[in-house]
Amino acid sequence: MSVYYTSLDHFVLLPVLLLALFGCATLLFDFWVFPEAHQRKYLLIFLGLGEAFAGWAFWRQGMALAINGGEISAFHGAVVVDHFALFFHWIFLITTLIVGLISYRYLEVRDEHHGEYYGILMLAQCGMFFLASGNELVTIFVGLETMAVSFYVLVGFLRAEQRSNEAALKYLLLGGLSSGFLAYGFSILYGIAGSTQLNDIAKAVATRSHSDTILFLAIATTTVGLLFKIGGAPFHMWVPDVYEGAPTTITAFLAVGSKAASFALLMRLFASTLGSARATWEPLLIAAAVLSMTIGNLAAITQTNTKRLLAYSSVNHAGYILLGVIAGNNTGYKGVLIYLLVYTFMNLGAFLVLTSLTRKGLAGEDINDLRGLMKKSPGHALWMLIFLLSLAGIPPTAGFFGKYFIFLSLIETGHYVLAVLGCLYAAVAIYYYMRMVKAMFIETEEEETPALSTSFGMQVALVVTGVMTLVIGVYPEPFVRLAQQSFQR
């Protein structure tokens, strides 16, 4: 290999190359080998194979890290693989797999089963890869746009449905705007450092004073862009509409995968690159976190559409996760990682149940559609109960440990007011999660509705997410260690 593409570069890039390859292959196979609609679920095999190969590559990278320690960087430091990045890569992998598994029945029910769906899922994951592994502004930006463009398509995947089209358009416009902000912030950072490498930027930022206007402008615009991506207030307004309009499976993907990826980037930027400018960005993040919790919680209370409710709850969760970044000590960052891991399973799980509520002629998105679920399908209702309790942070479910680290880190760093606020909002959240519980367990169905649209993939996904939500809650030790190992600064 030439000096432009060494074996190390190849080693680092292999998983994403495989994903891209399988993603593109899916598009071709859809066209030539499986032209019939009913055959399309076999394309899932491609997704599975692609993920399996990528997982194998991640695993090898993990082994290499275990031997060498630290990080492996490629392309002159533009892309790095460290424990932190690998942690997120696994989250993306699990999310994509589960979303793929639950999609085929949903798409069949909606008469929109097209092969490119699976391909684009993998391409979106490629974008996420660069958000967690990128160590250079242009690489990160390209990754971000790869992910975003894939999502623009996926959100509008229900072509016949106006809501879906509207959501896609809204996401495209606002996503474009946020990318603009981010690009603006990035360009100033480049201007400050004279380099696009995050390490160089970190050095340049460290020499600047906290009251530097240019630095403030760079950080403020970057923060705005990132808040858009993580769905944090006050730049959250796309969240409810897009979550509602998108196919439920994509809502899940957006809520978990895209959020985790954006947080990976946010943490890399704020914890290390801009770490020395904490005094500048801390007030911004505090305001955003408090606003996110307030708006997310208060708006969720009045929602009757479950997807919108979960959308606002995700704004609230973004606020919580930001609190860990604000605390800014090891516990806080560890907390962010655990929170995101836990969030992956519990939030995916909640969307799984909502997905299975979508049946022929029934959107299944209203809270009333959950009525009598306990009677109709106790399994789904009980899993949903676990996911909701976990989202609310009640032990012994996983969500409790997410909140635990956040609160502890706030106390360790003396952010008592934020800790108390977080606690009070945790109690408010109970109200709207319990509305869904109430519908499932206490109310009864008014008229007979068709049976749930469940599939083998759905069952597997439900068991995986449900069991993980319980296991992390009851025995979090290995996961705490994993997070500890993934964030060692």
Binding site: L389, Y404, F407, C423, A427, Y431, F441, P476, V480
Partner: protein, 513 residues
């Protein structure tokens, strides 16, 4: 078995619940039977605990320790001292009686109902035997979910409102308490360089008064809501009134005790300086007295039988918290005995209301009158329950109230004077209730054909009556078992308070950054 007795007690209901899940929904009798068997076994396995408990030993016994989450310093650490052993017994007995009393009352979704009761049973037991603070917290929060469903699914007309109110209130208190726990946990780390939630270890922390006060108020919110103390009591009448009979019984008999237990187990020994701080003690005592008087006065006004009993709980538990914050041997001992008594007496009163409600489906006091003519046995049982609640000598309530008042008097004459007023009001609302429902002529035609107590109802009341009388006549075993653990707490509070009076080198402020 001996080595793992506490685990067996803790997980028996859970194991029963697990097997219950395999019984088909249609096998209603078998479901009830199985739940009863599980609860009975749960009670029977707790007997070796009280028999084998060494009263001469003030420390923890039957201790089991295992690593749970080593990286956070969380252990599966359980054990009982004299205080917890009484609470465990209260839980297993009342749990069994509550489940037994549901046999005829619950005719809908039995499987879920009994599952919730068994789950709750494990949660409550866990609260009383945990020696690790996080383990305690997990059980503490775990209890909320089954109670939410018990009220929300099988409750009265305003069940949803009551259930969510219960959940919101107690969860808010719980999470604020968690902050207090984390503050202690972090301070322990700052002083000793490692993380632990073990309560005995956390007692070693040297905290300045200001930090202790912060932690105290965080705990206070959690415990006071659970008790519930005035002004955090508003969830209780709703929850009690709307819950099904057995739910009300468990709520009053055991669930509320989690709050008072929390004060005794955590607030006092872990935060001795704050707990004996004059301002804090005065605030808590005044709130307790307001609770005693307010609860009693509001009870006087009630038209709803069950609501009256619910408000009487606010009054009775005011006595319990007053006793605790008298911070002396008799106050705390009396408070614990009164907690048991409240479990028995109020449990009985709720069952009494449940019996009549099942027959007439109304709880309006004015619907009744002269029931003693129609249901004489029922009237006798009610009389015993009422007198035990009102604190008649030779019945259990007297022992508790007297000891608390003695402690309160030692601590502050004025408190005792006000609290005594509560006893008088208590007698007033209970006697008046009895007069309006049981005595005089039969005023309502609908009541004429009501059947008297059935054998199953007798079977629930008899053990409670025996228990009530036994405490009233011979309370010595209770004082014996409580003497040492309470003395330890009292010493800890006063020694530290006295030590604080002597000027010492200032402790470093570790809580703030």
């Amino acid at each position: 078995m001996q080595g793992h007795l506490l685990s067996v007690i803790l997980f028996t209901p859970l194991a029963g619940l697990f097997l219950l899940l395999f019984i088909p929904k249609s096998q209603k009798t078998f479901i009830r039977l199985w739940a009863n068997i599980t609860a009975a076994i749960g009670f029977l396995v707790s007997l070796p605990l009280i028999i084998g408990f060494d009263r001469s030993n003030g420390g923890y016994q039957f201790v089991e320790r295992a690593e749970w989450i080593p990286s956070l310093g969380v252990q599966y650490l359980i054990g009982v001292d004299g205080i917890s052993v009484l609470m465990v017994m209260l839980t297993t007995i009342m749990g069994f009686l509550a489940i037994f009393s549901s046999w005829d009352a619950i005719k809908d979704r039995e499987k879920e109902y009994y599952s919730m009761f068994l789950l709750q049973q494990t949660g409550m037991l866990g609260v009383f035997i945990s020696m690790d603070f996080l383990l305690f917290y997990v059980f503490w929060e775990m209890v909320l979910v089954p109670m939410y469903f018990i009220i929300g699914v099988w409750g009265g007309p305003r069940k949803l409102y009551a259930a969510i109110k219960f959940f919101l209130y107690t969860l808010t208190g719980g999470v604020l308490m968690l902050l207090g726990i984390l503050l202690l946990y972090f301070n322990y780390f700052a002083q000793f360089g490692r993380y632990t939630f073990e309560i005995a270890e956390l007692m070693k922390i040297n905290l300045p008064l200001a930090t202790q006060q912060w932690v105290f108020w965080a705990f206070f919110v959690g415990f006071a809501i659970k008790v519930p103390m005035f002004p955090f009591h508003t969830w209780l009448p709703d929850a009690h009134t709307e819950a099904p009979t057995a739910g009300s019984v468990i709520l009053a008999a055991v669930l509320l005790k989690m709050g008072t237990y929390g004060f005794i187990r955590f607030s006092l020994p872990l935060l001795p300086k704050a707990s004996s701080d004059h301002t804090i003690v005065t605030i808590v005592a005044v709130l307790s007295i307001i609770g005693i008087l307010y609860g009693a006065l509001v009870s006087l006004m009630q038209q709803d039988w069950k609501k009256l009993v619910a408000y009487s709980s606010v009054s009775h538990l005011g006595f319990c918290t007053l006793g605790i914050f008298a911070l002396n041997q008799s106050g705390i001992t009396g408070s614990i005995i009164q907690q048991i008594n409240h479990g028995i007496s109020t449990g009985m009163l709720f069952l009494v209301v449940g019996v009549i409600y099942e027959r007439r489906h109304t709880r309006e006091i004015k619907e009744y009158g002269g029931l003693a003519h129609i249901m004489p046995n029922y009237a006798i049982v009610f009389a015993i329950a009422m007198l035990s609640s009102a604190g008649l000598p030779l019945l259990n309530g007297f022992v508790g109230e007297f000891t608390i008042l003695q402690g309160a008097f030692d601590a502050n004459h004025v408190w005792a004077a006000f609290a005594v007023l509560g006893v008088i009001f208590g007698a007033a609302y209970l006697l008046w209730l009895y007069q309006r429902t049981m005595l005089g002529e039969v005023t309502n035609e609908k009541n004429k054909g009501l059947p008297d107590l059935k054998w199953r109802e007798w079977a629930v009341f008899i053990p409670l009556i025996i228990w009530a009388i036994s405490i009233g006549v011979y309370p010595k075993p209770y004082f014996d078992i409580l003497e040492k653990p309470v003395a330890q707490i009292v010493h800890r509070v006063h020694d530290t308070a006295n030590a604080a009076a002597v000027p010492t080198t200032p402790t470093p402020e570790v809580a703030s950054r």
